[in-house]
């Protein structure tokens, strides 16, 4: 019997083998070799390179562009997290009951999430176009000429204009997470509270909000990481411009490696990126673990 089981277990190694080899070779090894490249001055073209120690890291933190990039990342992340969490929560509260209209609206709000970010980026570059874009034409049509902007061409607002697109594309998805959380709250809680004369606001504060905490943690954690590693939308809409106003870590890495041929420096950027993401992920796990629901 025991022998039989052991033999069974030995076969299981074959189950692990193909995927794990692939994973080690095309995922784990590249991550490690990225660390190696970050200590070199390789330009991605020449056959040789020199070891430069920690110079790339020092140069990164000394560089104004890199510091601006980090700051942009934080600005982009905070605006997306705040707006997307609030928007998706409000939508979920309004749509938590299952009626036909509500189910339809949920699907409509979710729809942008299935579009490729290239499509979303192109659609919104077009909507934001200063002369023939729907947004400015609409504003002018409504007599609000003063509000018309060069949305993604103006370095003061471009980053936030793209953050709005990110929310447009993903708030519906986060709304679904909140709706699942809301529907798990037992209805009797509300009934008894209402009998005790609780106001709508009190019901929200005393019942909905605390019981929704696990969903809020998921939404905030997911949105934080997703917005921190954004690439596609910015690459499609502004490519980091104007004047680096929308450059974030991922586009900075791409430009440094493939535009400036500073592969080593860009690799150091990748490693810094990874460290920040690891910290964010650790915080996410901690936040989710402390909730009893998990």
């Amino acid at each position: 019997m025991k022998n039989n089981r052991l033999k069974h277990k030995r076969v299981l190694w074959l189950f692990l083998l193909p995927g794990t080899l692939l994973y080690l070779f095309l995922f784990a090894y590249p991550t490690l070799s990225g660390l190696f490249y970050s200590f070199t001055d390789w330009d991605s073209v020449s056959p040789s390179y020199n070891m430069v120690g920690l110079d790339n890291y020092k140069d990164s933190f000394d560089s104004l562009v890199f510091r601006k990039t980090l700051l942009n990342n934080v600005k982009f992340m905070l605006s997306v997290v705040i707006v997307q969490t609030v928007v998706s929560l409000v939508l979920a509260l309004l749509l938590s009951r299952n009626t036909r209209t509500r189910v339809f609206l949920r699907a409509l709000y979710f729809l942008p999430a299935i579009l490729s970010s290239v499509s979303v980026g192109l659609i919104w570059s077009f909507v934001y176009d200063p002369t023939i874009g729907m947004l400015n034409l609409g504003l002018r049509g409504a007599g609000l000429d003063g509000l018309a902007q060069n949305w993604i061409g103006d370095r003061r607002i471009a980053l936030y204009a793209i953050a709005a697109v990110q929310v447009w594309a993903h708030a519906g998805q986060m709304m679904i997470v909140f709706i699942a959380g809301l529907q798990a709250i037992p209805g009797e809680l509300y009934e008894s509270a209402r009998i005790d004369g609780g106001s709508r606001f009190q019901l929200f504060r005393k019942i909905t909000w605390p019981l929704l905490a696990p969903s809020s943690a998921i939404v905030i954690a997911y949105t934080t990481i997703q917005s921190f590693k954004a690439f596609d939308l910015i690459f499609v809409m502004t490519d980091g411009g104007p004047n680096n106003a929308t450059e974030i870590l991922s586009t900075y890495i791409y430009h440094t490696a493939f535009g400036n041929y500073e592969f080593g420096l860009a690799s150091a950027g990748s490693m810094i990126f990874l460290v920040v993401l690891a910290i964010l992920t650790y915080l996410q796990f901690k936040a989710l673990r402390t909730d009893r629901a998990f």
Partner: protein, 271 residues
């Protein structure tokens, strides 16, 4: 009462925010370019398929569709196969071995493509896989594997141990247990995972951008990026391309809405 109307107003407003850009794109793609510049917001007058015809005439659209379909289907199928084998082994091993392999893949969840893009680019070029669709499939499979393993292991853990134990006492080997019991019972998780991988892979920009440069190998998102350069002022044709590239996904969404919403949300949360 006032509260209720405020709520309805907000729902209506958000519906407009979602729908207006899509509507704008839709009407523009069915307009002649000249009519578009004369009145960008107006109803297409006359309604024309000219933009779509131009795309098919000037671009190898069918080839791009084929490339995207090949890469997406290959990636989804291989990821599900390899991922479910690994998840099954992790659950059956259990103990320290199971925990080790689970942690190995979970660690991969932290590392996004954006971090791995440079070394992957260098590695693929060294291997001579650049500009091969098959190379793109293999790299994509590896990239999505951590998430696939994570989702499927979570589900397979919940399968009743007794069912599997009973099978193994009956003398069924692991292969049979896997194929006859674990896989059919995991159908809900597999379909959620498949939907998620399908959307991610069909829409992926970064990997094709790094690995593909030949004209004949472009996937749809890359082809769109190229059209943007070619149709700089010809918005209506570019938008026809946007609609075409999203069409298969939209049709699937229409019919499999519930699976899309459930699968993509599960994938997002687990990732």
């Amino acid at each position: 009462m006032a509260f209720k109307w405020l709520g309805r107003l907000m729902l209506l407003l958000y519906a407009a925010i979602i729908a207006a850009p899509l509507y704008f794109v839709l009407i523009s793609a069915f307009k002649p370019t000249t009519a578009f510049f004369a009145d960008p917001l107006g109803w297409p007058q006359p309604l024309t398929l000219e933009n779509f015809r131009a795309l098919f005439e000037q671009q190898p659209m069918l080839r791009y569709f084929g490339n995207s379909a090949l890469v997406t289907l290959g990636t989804v199928a291989l990821d599900l196969l390899l991922g479910s084998l690994i998840a099954y082994a992790i659950v059956r091993f259990g103990g320290r071995i199971g925990a080790f392999f689970f942690a190995l893949y979970a660690a991969g969840l932290i590392v996004p493509t954006q971090v791995n893009m440079l070394p992957l680019y260098a590695l693929v070029r060294k291997l001579g896989w650049s500009d091969h669709l098959l190379g793109l499939v293999v790299v994509s499979v590896a990239l999505f594997l951590p998430l696939t393993v994570f989702m499927l292991t979570g589900f397979m853990r919940s399968l009743s141990r007794e069912v599997l134990e009973a099978g193994s006492i009956d003398g069924a080997g692991e292969w049979r247990l896997f194929a006859r019991i674990a896989i059919p019972l995991s159908a809900p998780a597999l379909s959620a995972c498949a939907t998620f991988l399908f959307v991610m892979s069909w829409n992926d920009l970064l990997m094709p951008l790094l690995l593909i440069n030949g004209n004949s190998k472009l996937t749809l998102p890359l082809a769109l990026m190229q059209f943007r350069g070619e149709y700089v002022t010809n918005y209506t044709t570019l938008l026809a391309g946007v609609i075409l590239s999203a069409a298969p996904m939209l049709v699937l969404f229409l019919f499999l809405q519930r699976y899309f919403i459930a699968g993509m949300t599960a994938g997002a949360i687990k990732g």
